[in-house]
Point group: D2
Chain length 146, copies 4
C-alpha cells in the first residue's frame, strides 16, 4: 500500500468527529483491509454490561467504508446497504472491527467486517456483517444516486 | 398503550447515555410503534453535508429495540440481526426513525424501521431496514444466548 | 403502464423455464409492482406441511426483478443482494409474492417483496424482504460488473 | 462426525424432492459443514448464460439448513432469515454451495454459505451469505413460532 495514501487515511480518520467521539484508533491498515479499535465508553454500553448494537453497527459502517478506500485516493463511495448479525454478548474492554474487501467490482464493492471483543488479551468474535458500497465519480453524490 | 409503560419507556430513553449524546427525543410512541427524532450534530455528518450511515444505523437499532418494548415491561430483548438499505442522501435538519413491529412471535420479533430526513417541514424517506430481536427470559442474557 | 411493455413482460414470464417449473402465474402487474402466484407442488414443501424457504426466496428474487422491469423495456438489471425474513410457517394452498419498488435511483433500485400464503381464501403475510438491483447498460453484464 | 448421523443426512438429502429436481449431490459433509453441488439445468439459467439468483438462493437455504443438522439428529430448525450478496456472474458447469456454521447458540445458529461456480476445473466465488436458524424443540414448529 502506498505511503501517501496510508498517511491520508490516518489523517482523515483522526479528523473524523465521529471517530473522535468514540476514541477510536486505527489498529491495522493494509490493501483491502482496515481495522479499528475502540475503548469502552458509557454511551456504548447496555445496562447489563455489554457493548450495545448501535456501537457495533457504527464500527461496521466506518471500517467497511474505510477498507474500500485502501486502493486509491481518487475514489469516493456511498454505502448501499449494511447487514449485521450479532453472535454473542460483547463483554470486554475493547471492541475491534476488522473489515476486509471480498469483492471489488467496477461499480460495487462488497466488504465483510467482523467485530471482536477484547477481554484480558483474548479476542472473541461477537458480530459479523456484509456491506455493499457504490463507487462514485466524485464527492458530491446526490445527483449520481437520485 | 398503558400509561405506566409509556412513562417507563420515556424515562429509560431519557436516561440513555447514547440518546443523550445524540440529543434524541421520542416524537411518537404507541403499541408496536416507536419514533425518534434527532437534530444535526457535527459527528453525524459526512463532509458533503448529509447524515452519515452510522447515525442512521444507530437510530434503526435503538428505535427497533424500543418498539419491541411497547407491549409489556416484563420483556427483555437482544438484537439478533439488523439490515439497512440506504436509499437517498440524507440532507436536512433532522433525522427521524419510525419503527413498527411487523411480527411478534413467541421468541422472535421482526421490526421495520424507516428513516426520514426532515428539511424545511417536509419529510423524505432515506433508508429502510429489517431488524430481528429475540425475547429473553430476563435481563442478563449471556447464558440464554451462548 | 404501456400495453406493449405489459404484453412483453407476460410473454417473458410465460417463457421462463423456472416459472414454468413452479406453475407460476402473474396475478397482478402495474407500474413498480409485480405479483406472482404459485400453487403447492411436492418440491416446494417441507415434510411438516409448509412451503420451504427456498421456494419463498425464489419468488422474492423473481418478483423483485420483474417489478424493476415495469417502467421500460430498454432496461436490464442484475440482482445485487437479497434479504428475506421468514415470519410465520407458510401453510396453505398458494404462495403469493407482492413486489413493490420503493426506490428507483440512476443505478440502483430497491424493492420490497412480501410473501403471503393463501388458505381458503384468506391471505397471511409469511415473509418480507429487501432486494437491491443494479441497472445495466445492456444485457451482457459481465464486463459491467467485474 | 458420527456415521449414523452422516448416513441419515445423506438419506434425507436423497429423498428431498427439491434436491432431486436440482440434480444436487452432497460433495462434502463434516461437523458444522455441508457442501452441495448442482449441474447446469435449463431452469437455473438466465438467458445471458449465467446461473440465476433464485438457484443460488435455493442452494444457500438448503446448505445452511443442512449444516445446522450436522451435530445431532435430535435437533430441528426453522430458517429465521437469509441474506445473500451476489458478487460476480456465475458462468460455469456447476454451482457449489459451501455452508459453515459460524455460531451455535442455545436457540439461534448462524451460518455462512459461500457459492462457487466451477468452470473447467477451477472454482470462483460468486456469492456469499449469512443465514440465521432457530432451533426447535420438535418437528412441528407452528406453535413454537407464532
Amino acid at each position: 500500500m502506498e505511503n501517501n495514501l496510508k498517511t491520508e487515511l490516518f489523517e482523515n480518520f483522526k479528523n473524523s468527529k465521529l471517530m473522535q467521539l468514540f476514541g477510536a484508533e486505527i489498529s491495522n491498515i493494509n490493501d483491502d483491509y482496515f481495522e479499528i479499535r475502540v475503548p469502552q465508553k458509557d454511551f456504548m454500553m447496555r445496562s447489563a454490561g455489554m457493548f450495545n448494537g448501535a456501537t457495533m453497527a457504527t464500527l461496521v459502517d466506518v471500517s467497511s467504508y474505510a477498507s474500500a478506500l485502501t486502493k486509491s485516493n481518487t475514489q469516493y463511495y456511498a454505502t448501499v446497504e449494511l447487514k449485521i448479525n450479532y453472535l454473542s454478548p460483547a463483554i470486554g474492554e475493547n471492541l475491534i472491527a476488522k473489515a476486509e474487501v471480498i469483492k471489488r467490482g467496477k461499480i460495487l464493492t462488497v466488504v465483510r467486517s467482523d467485530i471482536y471483543v477484547a477481554k484480558q488479551g483474548s479476542e472473541t468474535l461477537v458480530a459479523t456483517s456484509l456491506v455493499t458500497l457504490m463507487q462514485l465519480e466524485n464527492e458530491n453524490y446526490s445527483n449520481q444516486i437520485h
